[in-house]
């Protein structure tokens, strides 16, 4: 808290300077906070690494399929969706949809977000559709991640 007060003084001192936006100088105020956070993150990583070292299983054996095999946690939702989607749409096979939707369509949609959402407001209360869609997308990813673990 003391740091915040000090930073506020910093603003007053620099107010007379010709700046584009009101704020605190990058050095030292912004950098100080960054360094504090960096120390915390680096410390946590070393702690995690010491308590839970990276694993190493048996050497790869192409003739012995282990079970269950999990991919990295951030790809689980792709596997979940692939398992979840078992419906053919017309001539398109279920498997093709199961692969294309979470990989191609989803990333394509992410790239296009600023071009789809033309609402200029950044006020969260005036962006109800975007917020609801965002929450649905998040819940969807969480659900398919859960699905991939439970229905392995």
């Amino acid at each position: 808290m003391a740091m915040t007060n000090k930073e506020l003084h910093g603003t007053e001192e620099h107010e007379h300077e010709p700046v584009r936006i009101r704020g605190l100088p990058f050095f030292p105020h912004f950098l100080l906070r960054e360094v504090v956070v960096m120390c915390l993150v680096a410390g946590s990583l070393i702690l995690l690494a010491s308590v839970y070292p990276a694993g190493l299983l048996k050497p790869a054996d192409p003739f012995d399929t282990p079970s269950p095999i999990y991919p990295e946690w951030y790809f689980l939702y792709v596997f979940g969706f692939l398992k979840f989607w078992t419906y053919n749409i017309g001539p398109i096979e279920a498997k093709i949809i199961g692969v294309t939707v979470p990989m191609v369509l989803w990333y394509g949609l992410l790239i296009l977000v600023p071009f789809i959402d033309r609402n200029p407001s950044t006020d969260i209360r005036k962006r109800k559709i975007a917020v609801v869609l965002g929450i649905i997308a998040l819940l969807g990813i969480l659900y398919f991640t859960y699905y991939s673990i439970v229905y392995h």
Binding site: T4, L8, H14, E17, R20, I21, R22, G23, L24, P25, F26, H29, F30, R33, E34, V37, V41, A42, L45, L48, A49, S50, P53, A54, L56, L57, K58, P59, A60, D61, P62, D64, P66, I69, Y70, P71, E72, Y74, F75, V78, F79, I96, V99, T100, M103, V104, Y107, L110, I111, V113, P114, D117, N119, T122, D123, I124, R127, V131, G134, L138
Partner: protein, 220 residues
């Protein structure tokens, strides 16, 4: 003191530091960005990247990307190399933390509407950074050449291979043959330590340059 002043003066005479430094050093960061911890997520991801680059260089000194040697070299890093286990574990945790931080950073930017005009392009670069980060994870997963690495990659390349039209090419480029083997391992290694670092550094420069030019987006 006098030594640092002498060095500063020497550099100042040549590079006009007096004119160059203030815009960088005194560049204002908005108050809300300094006081709100949600604005730390991007910086956390970047710090993880720096840690990954450093630990990755050390790992590359001992790692051998062939099916016969890969597993043994990782085992040697874990058991024999001084601090090897710590370096590899920090690499492992920094990788997972980086992906989590990038995801949370994206969620923050989405719900604050920070991608809106004039920052559309920076969001697009950000999505490519996210893709690059997950591809880093995917390619790094195979390198220890243990059971998990082998079979997760087998399934992963299988899924990428069934994407319509591009799939078979992606699969051929990644695997370098019909089945996972020596070709795949060297390819994944090259992707992980040469192609992706070059890509992510370029994208990060663009990302930061745009933030610098356009400033940090406003309130929630």
């Amino acid at each position: 003191m006098t030594l640092s002043k002498t060095i500063y003066k020497w550099l100042d005479d040549r590079f006009k530091l007096r004119e160059l430094l203030p815009p960088i050093v005194k560049h204002p960061a908005p108050e809300y960005a300094v006081s709100n911890p949600l604005y730390c997520l991007g910086g956390t991801a970047f710090l993880c990247f720096l840690i990954l680059a450093t630990t990755g260089i050390f790992l590359a000194m001992y790692y051998k990307p062939t099916p016969a040697e890969a597993y043994k070299s990782v085992e040697r890093i874990m058991l024999e190399v001084p601090m090897g286990s710590l370096i590899r574990s920090v690499h492992h945790w920094a990788a997972n933390t980086m992906i989590a931080a990038v995801m949370l950073h994206m969620i923050r930017v989405y719900f604050m509407g920070a991608y809106k005009r004039p920052r559309e392009l920076n969001w697009v670069v950000g999505v490519f950074l996210f893709l690059t980060t997950t591809t880093f994870g995917f390619s790094g997963y195979l390198l220890p050449w243990d059971q998990l690495a082998y079979w997760a990659t087998k399934i992963g390349t299988g899924i990428a291979g069934s994407i319509p039209v591009m799939g078979q090419y992606i699969s051929l480029i990644l695997i370098g043959g019909n089945d996972l083997g020596a070709e795949t391992l060297t390819r994944f290694y090259a992707i992980h330590v040469l192609i992706l670092p070059a890509a992510i550094i370029t994208l990060l420069l663009l990302h930061f340059l745009m933030v610098r030019i356009q400033g940090i987006s406003g309130r929630l």
